[in-house]
């Protein structure tokens, strides 16, 4: 009777919970060992690539980013571009065909490098349409009137005008790390008249000369 009255409460009070928690903690230790050592298969953030990111386009963009636009020095000359990709002019222009809906063509007056109001608006629109892209590509040209050197210089200043406008509007030092400039003058990859149907800063009539007094701008999603 003394056992029942005085010992039973102690024994049962310890035994029942003790056995239960012993079993549970044993399982917990096994599960913990597995979870601490098992490799984690997780999805990680990455910049998705656009479907237009061909090897050749990536080469161009990489060249511009690495040596022509972003790491000291500004912009690439036509010979650099043609040396990098070893493409014909036509093939070069074909690289941008998948970007038709993203590209904006900023038009300039003959022998001019200033952006008109429509051009400024188009630059800002293009800049805002970034998506997940990291690299803003500016490819500028000049129509064949005038000398080769003059046109090369003209196209270089036109590309710079786009960059300057972005810096003026957004005042973000990071822009310098995101914009790559490539000027082609009249020497390489002149645009055919078909590009007049693309998204231009000016409406109205357009011929081959008009479309080549331009800067071709777009965000590029390619991982380079």
């Amino acid at each position: 009777m003394r056992f029942v009255t005085y010992v039973l409460p102690l024994l049962l009070g310890v035994a029942v919970p003790g056995v239960a928690i012993g079993a549970w903690l044993g399982d917990a230790k096994t599960n913990l060992d597995v979870s601490e050592t098992a490799p984690k298969d997780v999805v990680r953030a990455s910049v998705p690539e656009g479907g237009y990111c061909s090897v050749e386009l990536k080469q161009i963009v990489r060249r511009v980013a690495g040596a022509c636009g972003l790491l000291g020095g500004r912009g690439c000359q036509p010979t650099d571009a043609s040396n990098v990709v070893k493409l014909s002019a036509n093939d070069f222009n074909q690289l941008f065909l998948p970007l038709k809906h993203r590209v904006r063509i900023i038009q300039f007056d003959q022998s001019k490098t200033e952006l008109d109001e429509d051009a400024k608006h188009a630059v800002e629109e293009a800049w805002g349409d970034r998506g997940m892209a990291r690299f803003f590509f500016v490819v500028s040209r000049a129509s064949p009137e005038g000398s080769v050197e003059k046109n090369r210089e003209l196209s270089a200043v036109r590309a710079q005008a786009v960059l300057d406008h972005l810096m003026e509007v957004y005042k973000d030092p990071d822009i310098q790390k995101q914009v790559g400039l490539l000027w082609l003058g009249e020497e390489f990859a002149q645009l055919p008249k078909e590009f007049c149907e693309w998204n231009r800063s000016r409406t109205g009539e357009c011929n081959e000369a008009d479309i080549n007094r331009s800067a071709f701008i777009a965000w590029i999603d390619c991982s380079i």
């Binding site: 310890v14 919970p17 239960a20 601490e36 997780v42 953030a45 910049v47 998705p48 800002e124 805002g128």
Partner: protein
Amino acid sequence: MEEDKKSPPTASPPVGAWGMPAGTPAAPASRPTLPPAPAPVVPPAEPAFPELRPYDRERELREREPMRDIVRPERTETVQRALHDDRLPDERRHVVTSEGRSARGRGWLWFVMLAAALGAVFAATSTADFVEHLDGQLHEIHCSINVAADQVDGESGCAMAMFSPYSSFFRASMWGGVPVSLLAFAVFAFLAALALALALKKDLTRRDTLFMLLASVLPVATSAVYATISATQLGAFCQVCIGIYIASGLVAILSLVAHLRAWPGEGKLPWGRWALWFGEGVLVVGLVLGLYVAWVPSERPSVDKGCGALVEEPGDESFVIALPSEPGAIPSLEVLDPLCNFCRAFDKRLTASGLDKKIARRVVVFPMDTCVPNDMIRQRRHPGACTVSYAMLCAPQSAQKILDYAFAEQERLLELGKTNDAALKADLEQRFPEVKGCIGSAKAKAELTKARNWAARNALELSTPQLFVDGTQVCPQNTDLGLEFTLTRALERAGYKGD
């Protein structure tokens, strides 16, 4: 033949009430009076109630263990008088015998035992769920008074209670701490065993059941405290906890009934016996606690190693939002989605733990929604999260208030985001006028895109929340039950010098 001359038979004297000879002045017919107490104990020659066994004192002593309250002459007399008391109904006369005395209340103690066992089952269920989560992973938990019902997944009152800081003690010094339900399990097991012991006790009196009644106050009081915490702090009730509260109440009520039904008993209170039982109760709880602490798994390399470091600290980037912080707080970075329920729960746990004051929280919004063209998030897991994130980026000085609002109204804002994003935008602009005209603008989108690209450069997991203390990620499996322990260690490593 002569007949034997015998003396004529003597007529027995007529017997009146109580076996007294006739002629004795009769008591008033309406109320028989008790005979005067005889001084010596003399068994009657002819028992007045032949069907009753004459009281045999020596036999009583032989059959039962010596108990002082039985061998005292005055006690014997009380029993004797009660046996002959016509005022008592027949069925009550037998309970005043020593066997009948101890039977009183015993039946109720069996019910007390069952109620305590029920409490133990609920407490054990809660403890089992808690222990299952010691591996840091998410599991289903029991959330019904019917413990045999299916376990539930996701957010529930039971999950809220279990992951709250109130579910366990010593969380800063042990991963997960010691669950409160473990102590409840030990207490109920002891009470059930004690009720069983008392139910089997032959000479049960109110001096025994009083201890049981007093002991039942502990689970009742604790239940009251935790019910109040659930109502005021958590805003939700755990079904299994409700089962514990009910069991506590039943134990108390049934103990009271058993106490009232038990034989009163006489003499001083048995302090020695009570002290022994109290000591046993404390010992039971202490031993169970000790077993838990000894056996709980403690090898967790992830606590100190973390889950990786940032490749690129954001610095003073414009997309990083600094929330208000205390001086001396350790820098931390939190990647969150304002419409993510895990982020909301994490924020609650961090605030309730008090550790939010020890870290300087900087937030990078990472909405699990498709915000920009070709976004890395292809599926809209939290529709509307982009809009709320834009609002925070547009007004960093109001970001804390916007975030608190988003957490408080999360379900409604998610519904708005799913059906009418324009209405969600209008709601935010109406509540926070400083964001008007900015939500969804090119500037806001540009900031969010920067945040996305930063996440890509660091190859962050596509999940929220994520916490980085001093550049090292706190592993996700250590941010719920193990939050206080892990964060305390991280702060120590980072050199936190506060209290």
